[in-house]
Point group: C2
DNA sequence: CAATTGACCAAATGAACATTTCGGTCATTA
DNA sequence: TAATGACCGAAATGTTCATTTGGTCAATTG
């Protein structure tokens, strides 16, 4: 074997999906970028969707590493949670593939992309839920449903960062941290 | 004047928009239901969109009455807030026009409907923001940005009722009240 | 004469058909 | 035996044309 063709294909596919999204990426294109015959792709992956899934799964693994790296054991749970979520959202903003996918999800609604975006959301959710479970065990926070809490946290974060930006001026890192802390942890009641 | 033609037109249009949505409602249809010449509609409204706006504005007024009726001065601010939001969401679920509009917003994306749905959301938001301002003044809750808080509350409520229902079993009225109270008012910190 | 009407028009819509694109196969090749 | 790219059919896309529909206005009505 002269070169690792599978690796070439993965690299080419990652590049193309990131640049053009799922729908606009053709198998011919991937084959061409990878300098590989189109049929070769089908010796490794049964179809376009499977190839896509491989690329996205790689990305999810990277995301989890990214998130874990953000955690600093010397800081409080709240601070760490915020750092982690923020890192994930920054990651999303930076990461070409992520951006293309979320765009494609709302604009084009390709079924394969809808499915995958849901998978990504689930990966993020179970990651957060995991951390919440530990926090409850260690009595850092009140007793609560970890999954529902994770869900609410993610939605709230997205609301603060993405949705609010659409109608008012965007909030910076510190403001978001403060608000997140006020609303979810301290609570509004006096 | 034998009959109030404007009233006939409003009733016919309300019926048709509620039943078929904005796009699927034709001016011929409205004229026919109202037993009125099509041209007569144009003596009262410049175009279809204006007629639509009249109908929706009526609905918003009804919604505000509905919400205000839900308020019971003997209950706490938190309880009242919950009752109000819940009533609004129930209202939305019950009200034909509201349902059709929200459907049309995500499925057909008629520009006129997108605009109007935004207007409805704004009406709800300023209503909540109003109540929050009073609550801050009266020291019922902590100092905070009323608009952002209203925005977050609405999104959180929708998350709990609509979004969560899509992935897990739906929450009932009491559960939602409890969660809303836990997360937003009491806070998670110990 | 003021209010009302519906035939009429231009623009938007969508059905039907033609054309192109693209995922996936497989006979051929190295 | 691994790799390839010409080829196939289905699905997406583009095109044409008949129908629908928002809006106008001359005729009509009371």
């Amino acid at each position: 074997m002269s070169v690792n063709r599978k690796k070439l294909i993965i690299e080419a596919a990652t590049k193309s999906f990131s640049l053009f999204g799922y729908k606009a990426t053709t198998m011919d294109q991937v084959a061409k970028i990878a300098n590989v015959g189109k049929g070769t792709i089908y010796t490794f992956y049964a179809n376009k969707e499977e190839l896509f899934k491989e690329i996205v799964d790689n990305m999810i693994v990277e995301m989890e590493q990214e998130a874990n790296d953000a955690i600093n054991p010397e800081l409080t749970f709240t601070e760490n949670l915020h750092l982690t979520l923020y890192r994930l959202l920054e990651f999303r903003r930076e990461h070409q593939l992520m951006i293309k996918l979320f765009q494609e999800e709302r604009e084009i609604r390709t079924p394969a992309v809808l499915e995958i975006v849901e998978e990504i959301e689930n990966a993020i959710l179970s990651f957060i839920a995991q951390k919440i479970k530990i926090a409850i065990q260690k009595k850092y926070i009140k007793e609560c449903d970890p999954e529902l809490t994770a869900f609410l946290m993610l939605k709230m974060y997205i609301t603060l960062i993405v949705d609010w930006e659409r109608i008012r001026k965007p909030l910076n890192k510190e403001e978001i941290a403060e608000l997140f802390d006020l609303y979810l942890f301290k609570g509004l009641s006096l």
